[in-house]
Symmetry: C2
């Protein structure tokens, strides 16, 4: 399965933790809130949902009328547009946790990082710290490359290329500072639980109050 697809599955499972949702709604959320998926198409989403159902991680909870139980005549047989609402299964929740915890170097780069970060509230403190630090080291690598490149080409590039590089450099520096704040906030929140995974909670997930 492609990396992109795995990321999509992860994001869908994450969003469904909030509440059951149908495809259209999921797509809107994926296209706005999450950094990746800015142009996710139905041609990707619907097959993905079908596969998640097949794997037993979500199920179709359609038929349920949405909220406002006011109306009586809602049942007019055959009418009432089909609206397939998806809901997480227990297995689905478990799988989401597995994916969140197994975050590796792949999640240091742009797209993956945004998605993982978006679900930090549902991620173990230790994993949060690992991802933040991994992301930082990735950015510092990038900075090192930019800097050696700009030394190597001193005076040989036109002004626009130089301007673009400087902009990239400053953006990366800003993100590093942002990460540093988050990391030290995490550290303050963690002390006392560090090391041996705390045994609070039912699932082995620590969830100590995130970010003060």
């Amino acid at each position: 399965m492609s990396r992109r697809r795995e990321l999509l599955e992860f994001a869908v499972l994450g969003l469904l933790h909030e509440s059951p949702m149908h495809g259209y709604e999921l797509r809107k959320r994926l296209n706005t809130a999450l950094g990746a998926f800015r142009a996710l198409s139905y041609g990707s989403l619907y097959p993905c949902l079908r596969e998640l159902v097949g794997k037993g991680w979500i199920f179709e909870a359609s038929g349920e009328q949405t909220g406002l139980g006011s109306g009586i005549a809602e049942l007019a047989v055959g009418s009432r547009r089909a609206r397939i609402v998806y809901e997480l299964t227990a297995d689905g929740k478990e799988h989401f946790q597995d994916l969140a915890e197994s975050a590796g170097p792949a999640s240091w780069d742009d797209e993956e990082f945004d998605v993982h970060f978006a679900f930090f509230a549902r991620t173990q403190a230790e994993v949060r710290l690992r991802i933040l630090e991994g992301r930082r080291s990735r950015l510092e690598e990038r900075l090192a490359n930019i800097r050696t490149a700009s030394v190597r080409n001193r005076e040989r590039l036109d002004l626009y290329t130089t301007a673009l590089q400087r902009h990239g450099e400053e953006s990366a520096e800003r993100e590093v500072r942002w990460l540093e704040e988050l990391i030290s906030a995490e550290r303050r929140g963690i002390t006392g639980t560090t090391g041996t995974t705390g045994t609070t909670g039912t699932t082995g997930i620590t969830h100590n109050e995130p970010l003060a």
Copy 2:
């Protein structure tokens, strides 16, 4: 033709302005310097090159030995690894200019902007200004969205989502300031040529000294 493909063709034509190049080299440049194409594959590049050849915008100038004319025995027939070097045709240069000048709203968004900007040194002053201002307005739209969204959801989002949004907001603000500097630099450079396209140069391209 897909937007992505058009962008790739534009970038290839732009890079070949510097000097003739073969595929492998083109890919390296596309993957590092240009913002888009960070993961461009050969499966995209080679078909693109073939099409550019078919359209008469580039041609295969292979056989030419690269630089160092030192060696004598270079001609050993049949040996000497095939190394297809591509070179721009006159039509190719012309087409690149057409593409550069026709930059529309599509080039205000992330990927396209980076590529267009990368070739600013070869772009008319008026077009440069149009792209910079378009990009700025696009970012200000985005900022407006972020801000209304963050008002609408005041207190309803977890700390991480808030942090991510603030980071996005500050990044956009920074880029706007960066653009503003470039725009005013362009304005200083342009005064005197503004309005009626200057008639300097052979091709109608103004090219007044970029960025002071």
